[in-house]
């Protein structure tokens, strides 16, 4: 069973992401968090395999959280979702080996990241 954590301060955005994931990876279990702090709590209490993060959130940004997560979980597939396509944001995401996903999110935009993550998790399990 693969578990994906969806982190976004917008409930609607979490619903949209969740729906896209359900369309692409119907068997994955989805858990949600409304902030970076809440995400850390979820991560402490559940086996999470994949994380998708919103960038612009109150408190810590998704990118800060991604960098912190990357330090602990070098192999975990992490995506950053934002419409903020500034070079610096993309460069920081790349440097932390975080996949960039454009908002608004739909199945097409998420397909590459999810299939890459599924592949990576399968090969790591072998």
């Amino acid at each position: 069973m693969t578990t994906i954590l969806i982190v976004d301060d917008s409930k609607l955005a979490r619903i949209v992401v969740s729906k896209a994931i359900a369309g692409l990876q119907p068997d994955w279990e989805k858990i949600e968090a409304g902030s970076a702090d809440e995400a850390l709590e979820r991560l402490a209490n559940a086996e999470v395999d994949v994380v998708i993060l919103d960038y612009n959130m109150p408190g810590r940004s998704g990118l800060d959280l991604a960098e912190a997560l990357r330090a602990e979980r070098p192999e975990m597939p992490i995506a950053l979702a934002t419409a903020n396509v500034q070079d610096e944001v993309i460069a920081r995401a790349r440097a932390a080996n975080v996949t960039f996903v454009a908002k608004p999110i739909n199945e097409d935009g998420l397909r590459g990241f999810l299939s890459g993550a599924a592949l990576q998790l399968r090969s790591a399990a072998r």
Partner: protein, 213 residues
């Protein structure tokens, strides 16, 4: 009736904030393209307030004179979008946009034009993104540069028969390595707020509906 239009349900408020967030993130990316430096954004704030409160919200952060680029938008809902910053940042913004290559006297000459163009790019990318997501076209007027007290920016363009209540969306931004900060604000009167509320409900149904797409 006005009570209904004034009240956004939690998910509607959430959806509107997310729309603004996506619109403004695109706008910041456009501005980054113009100034060549990273543009930092705050989390957007969306409130239904009086025009007086809207101007007070800016005034409590900015005491000096302000400059704004204003564009009217019309379509399924109407209103004004403003890019606002302290007047003392104005020339610095023009220098950023023109790439520091111009002599000071030319910077002065170009100020009005550069401000209008910057406002146009930023506000258009924000509004166009929102219009696309709501699937309703918006017509944008030409940008107008206005100066003075914040209160002036929030006065009704025509008649003020809405009891002075507006939907006030704002977000602040700052540019890396430059002493430039500012705000993007959007003002809509009550009939537009009611129309927007309907479109948001449609948007929510579209993105949440199982048979959508």
């Amino acid at each position: 009736m006005t009570g209904d239009a004034l009240h956004l349900a939690e998910l509607e408020h959430d959806a509107l904030t997310e729309l603004v967030n996506i619109g403004v993130s695109r706008a910041a990316s456009s501005l980054r393209g113009m100034v060549g430096r990273q543009v930092h954004l705050s989390v957007p704030s969306v409130e239904v307030v009086s025009r007086m409160v809207a101007s007070a919200l800016i005034r409590e952060r900015e005491t000096g004179p302000l400059v704004a680029v204003r564009q009217e938008f019309q379509g399924a809902f109407n209103g004004q979008a403003l890019l606002i910053f302290p007047e003392q940042n104005s020339l610095e913004l023009v220098r950023s946009v023109t790439g520091d290559a111009l002599p000071p006297d030319q910077v002065q000459d170009l100020e009005q034009e550069a401000l209008a163009e910057t406002g146009n790019v930023v506000l258009n990318s924000c509004l166009a993104t929102m219009a696309n997501m709501l699937q309703r076209p918006l017509e944008m007027s030409l940008p107008e540069v206005i100066r003075g007290e914040g209160a002036r920016f929030f006065q009704a363009a025509g008649e003020g028969d809405d009891g002075g209540v507006v939907l006030f969306l704002y977000i602040n931004f700052a540019i890396s390595d430059r002493d430039i900060r500012g705000y993007i604000a959007m003002l809509m009167d009550l009939p537009s707020l009611a129309a927007l509320k309907e479109l948001i409900a449609e948007f929510i149904a579209r993105v949440m509906g199982d048979d959508a797409e």
